[in-house]
């Protein structure tokens, strides 16, 4: 290795360090805040690693404020909206891709780009008339606004690139349309379905705006619950940071574990929820 390439390596190493440090330092600081007692969070200059860790911030959050109930709400809303989106969106992506129905793709794209709030006024009124308020159904249904376009959009892109020859061969062999989809197209599309599933899951889990309008005290999802702690119930930083970390930890773990699928999905569909 010449001195020049060595120098280049070192330069590159520092460049990478500089660009990832805002992300890294933020999450390290978040962890630090969540593990400090009130007195350590209130000192100036701030300290990164305290002498004693305030594990009680976590136990306090997990045991109080009906946190586990909110966690359950989040799981049901996100799980329900994601599974329904897969059931509806995977076949739709297949049909749209095979029919080359570009106008359908345009509707999906515009839906993706519409601000979540503009769906909220009419659906809020609709849910009131239907008497659904106070249950989890309004949130599960409105989260479809986020999850369905993501799934359809990603699946259109995926089915467009899977080979049609196998399907045509199966049809000539006498397979029905449904058999072709179920036994030929679907198995090949598995990686695309995984990507759609992960992204729909994350953007539904993170959603905040639907919850602040549609959730009652009992039906809050975690992002709404954490926001409410900030405004009403909790002012100390330690437990707040602990709650924030618990809410976003599943997503962060998923991001690092499945980063290849996430990167592929985001660059293909350039999606964002809400």
């Amino acid at each position: 290795m010449t001195a020049r390439t060595l120098l280049r390596r070192i330069g590159l190493f520092f460049a990478v360090l500089v660009i990832i440090s805002p992300a890294l330092m933020f999450f390290v600081w978040m962890l630090s805040l969540s593990l400090k007692y009130e007195i350590d969070n209130g000192t100036y200059p701030p300290i990164l690693i305290p002498d004693r860790f305030a594990w009680k911030n976590y136990t306090q959050i997990l045991s109080s404020n009906n946190f586990l109930g909110f966690f359950e709400n989040s799981v049901l809303v996100t799980g329900g909206a994601t599974l329904m989106a897969l059931l509806v969106g995977v076949p739709a992506g297949y049909g749209i891709a095979r029919m080359k129905a570009h106008s359908a793709a345009v509707v999906v794209m515009i839906a993706r780009m519409t601000p979540g709030l503009s769906f909220l006024i009419p659906l809020f009124l609709l849910f009131q008339w239907l008497g659904l308020m106070g249950t989890l159904w309004p949130q599960i249904l409105i989260h479809l606004v986020v999850t369905v376009p993501i799934v359809i959009w990603i699946m259109i892109g995926y089915f467009e690139t899977t080979p049609k020859e196998l399907e045509e061969a199966a049809i000539i062999d006498g397979a029905t349309q449904w058999q072709v989809f179920r036994l030929v197209a679907l198995p090949i599309a598995k990686p695309g379905i995984v990507v759609a599933f992960i992204l729909a899951l994350i953007f539904s889990w993170n959603n905040f705006v639907f919850g602040i309008v549609l959730a009652t005290r009992e039906t809050r999802t975690l992002p709404v619950a954490v926001y409410n702690m900030l405004s009403f119930e909790q002012v100390s930083w330690g437990p707040l940071a602990a709650a924030a970390l618990v809410v976003t930890l599943p997503v962060l773990i998923l991001t690092v574990v499945a980063q290849r699928q996430i990167v592929a999905g985001l660059t293909a569909g350039a999606v964002k929820g809400g």
């Binding site: 739709a92 769906f119 009124l125 995926y158 905040f208 991001t255 290849r260 990167v263």
Partner: protein, 302 residues
């Protein structure tokens, strides 16, 4: 013979694909198309929740044109969006150039870099709020280390929008990076080899080969950023709720107040329609620019 056969197979096939799309048509109709139509109709009515409704035609739209708070929020939205496009696109381009190099542990590093945009926005906003705190926040401490005095960050009308843009930039630079990185993967090696022979400098190679080749991807990233920044809500709402006063109130936040704080759903719908039209026009441009999916990434990305 074979031509006639495939025509016979193809004709019914076109029709039967509708079965696959039908459930999605019903769902999209209920949760997306119905709200669009209903919002349009509501915007033609004067309607506060709990009061009676009258048809007023375009009166809500006329009122919008003379609403000082709306016009102010429009200006905030434009400023916020312009800054939230420019900064991430510039920084994302630099980050993409760095990530395009051969790196050890590239996957892990990219995973860390991407974390801000995947993390729950409210959770992030909460921690930024603590960091912005003028007395105890870590940001003013970091500034003091390089000899800069304390700032008011989101607590002063003059600095609130730049501070929020900083959060937005931190959060969304990774998306620009990913899109540009996808573009860099399509650039062939040959032009660089001939430039090398001609004795081009690194800057010249970047300026005259790389930049023109990835320009469509930069444009795509800028368009996506534009649409997303226009409708940004979570970060602003959770950190400032549009404050101090209305200094960081964008159209989306004003819409929220009108519809769900004042329950003026007719007027709120008119705001939603105008906002919607603004975004759809930009989306159509975006769709026009859409690149074909890069699905081979799943198989062989590092």
């Amino acid at each position: 013979m074979s031509g006639a056969g495939s025509a016979l197979v193809a004709a019914p096939r076109r029709r039967t694909y509708w079965v696959f799309i039908l459930p999605a048509v019903v769902t999209v109709g209920a949760v997306i198309l119905f709200p669009w139509a209903f919002t349009l109709w509501m915007s033609l009515n004067e309607w506060k929740l709990g009061e009676s409704r009258h048809f007023v035609g375009l009166a809500n739209y006329v009122r919008l044109a003379g609403d000082g708070r709306f016009l102010e929020s429009l200006w905030h939205t434009i400023l916020y969006t312009a800054l939230s496009v420019a900064a991430p696109v510039f920084l994302g381009l630099i980050a993409a150039l760095i990530f395009n190099e051969r790196l050890p542990m590239r996957g892990l590093l990219r995973g860390i870099f991407v974390m801000p945009m995947m993390a729950t926005p409210v959770a992030i906003a909460l921690v930024w709020t603590m960091m912005f705190n003028p007395q105890l926040g870590v940001l003013n401490y970091l500034l003091s280390l390089v000899g800069i005095g304390p700032q008011a960050w989101v607590y002063h009308p003059a600095s609130v929008i730049p501070s929020l843009v900083m959060v937005e930039t931190w959060q969304w630079t990774p998306l620009v990076m990913l899109i540009v990185l996808g573009g860099l993967a399509t650039v062939p090696a040959e032009p660089y080899e001939s430039a090398e022979i001609d004795g081009a400098t690194s800057w010249q190679k970047f300026r005259f080969i790389t930049l023109p080749m990835i320009a469509p991807f930069l444009l795509l990233a800028a368009m996506i950023r534009t649409v997303d920044a226009l409708k940004s809500f979570d970060i602003i709402y959770a950190i400032t709720q549009g404050g101090p006063g209305t200094a960081s109130e964008t159209i989306n936040l004003y819409l929220y107040s009108v519809a769900f704080a004042y329950y003026d759903v007719g007027y709120g719908s008119a705001i939603a329609v105008v906002f919607f039209v603004l975004i759809v026009v930009l989306s159509l441009v975006l769709l026009h620019l859409r690149q074909r999916s890069k699905w081979n990434e799943i198989g062989d990305a590092a």
